[in-house]
């Protein structure tokens, strides 16, 4: 381990020691460092900001309880431990809410719309932003179609911003396996998106070629197919 890494670990150990005693500053720092990453993981799965915040809070409360009762034994692997706790909590929630899953994400669209407004102010075209919104929505739908293992590695890597070494520690698998799995998952995602795009193009082409009088009939038919 590098000297810089050792210093970081030592600083984190001090921080965790203070946090285990319930010191406010230590918790502010820990939450500032990790909460948005945990939140993003939860948000990616449950699609609701409120629920994601609730999950994030319960993860940190669990961490606080375990730290205070000296149940944190994986010294030097705090992030792996934190995200393992988070993934367990998210899986529990996903199992509970599976029957009520919502395929759309209005919050993300509105958040992106806010960003679009900012981009508009800086001169970007609204057509491009609209395309981005659709692209994000398509990407979310494609993520839903991935297997749990593939989705997990994508989310931990990109939403949780974990390194492959941390992933290997957390999932207890060789780093090479995880690198290969990550690549396969991205390729699968790309295939799903390409397929969805071509279906959309076909639908659009079908709609454009259909005479106006039968337009509504075709659309109803295509929706039924979906």
């Amino acid at each position: 381990m590098s000297a810089e890494g050792s210093a970081e670990n030592a600083a984190l150990a001090v921080l965790l020691e203070s946090a285990s005693k319930g010191e406010a500053d230590a918790w502010r720092t820990l939450v500032d460092l990790y909460s948005r990453r945990v939140f993003a993981l939860a948000k990616s799965r449950c699609r609701s900001s409120e629920l994601a915040e609730e999950i994030t809070q319960s993860v940190f409360v669990t961490i606080a309880t375990k730290l205070s009762q000296s149940e944190y034994t994986e010294k030097g692997r705090f992030e792996s431990w934190l995200f393992r706790v988070a993934m367990n909590r998210i899986r529990d929630e996903a199992r509970r809410a599976k029957r009520h899953a919502t395929p759309t994400d209005p919050e993300a669209v509105s958040a992106l719309a806010d960003r679009s407004r900012m981009s508009d102010a800086s001169g970007a075209s609204s057509a491009t932003n609209e395309e981005s919104v659709q692209q994000i929505a398509r990407l979310r739908l494609a993520m839903d179609q991935l297997s749990d293992a593939d989705r997990e590695i994508i989310e931990l890597r990109h939403h949780g911003q974990m390194s492959f070494q941390q992933l290997a520690d957390m999932l207890n698998e060789p780093m090479g396996t995880l690198l290969a799995r990550h690549h396969r998952a991205l390729r699968k995602l790309k295939e799903i998106m390409s397929e969805a795009m071509s279906q959309e193009i076909d639908r659009a082409a079908g709609t454009a070629l259909t005479p106006t009088t039968t337009h509504s009939t075709v659309r109803i038919g295509s929706e039924k197919q979906r």
């Binding site: 009762q69 690549h183 790309k190």
Partner: protein, 165 residues
């Protein structure tokens, strides 16, 4: 070399997914946009949980959650308070009983018999009392014959003051 490394994509494949990786990163960035005030709320909740879960007394108590541990501590405090209260009650009762003088009583049946026989010595030996209180009680008994005769037929205990108990 690890056999998994051999399964890694070639450079051309990596280029294929780099665009997809960038899209996923944009999505992740969007998802990291937390609601206002979230971090403060979470930090406060975690801090309280850490404080509640910290050991309060010697001897660890296994508890899965801070709240349950807090509940346990609270119920134990109640139990300690109740024990102390009962202890004080019992102690006070015993002390007050000990501090009360035990009334000297005269067996009125024997006293009446002794009186009937005008046997004053027997009167005195009945209780071994020689103080003034006793003497006055005897005087009262002696002067009140009706009371004495009643006590013969219906035995009662009489205190030094001459009152029936």
């Amino acid at each position: 070399m690890n056999k998994d490394i051999k399964n890694l994509p070639a450079d051309g494949d990596a280029h294929d997914v780099s665009e997809m990786e960038a899209s996923v990163n944009r999505l992740a960035e969007l998802d990291r946009m937390a609601p206002a005030g979230m971090q403060v709320r979470i930090a406060a909740a975690a801090m309280l949980a850490a404080r509640n879960a910290a050991p309060v007394v010697a001897g660890r108590v296994p508890a899965a959650h801070g709240a349950s541990r807090q509940g346990f501590t609270r119920s134990r405090q109640w139990a300690m308070a109740a024990t102390l209260l009962i202890g004080f009650g019992v102690g006070f009762s015993v002390l007050s009983r000990l501090s009360q003088p035990t009334p000297t009583v005269i067996d009125s049946t024997a006293a009446a018999a002794a009186l009937a026989q005008e046997d004053m010595e027997s009167w005195l030996t009945l209780t071994e009392a020689t103080d003034e209180t006793f003497t006055s009680a005897v005087k009262q008994l002696t002067s009140d014959t009706s009371r004495v005769s009643e006590s013969v037929t219906s035995p009662t205990m009489i205190s030094l003051d001459g009152d029936s108990l």
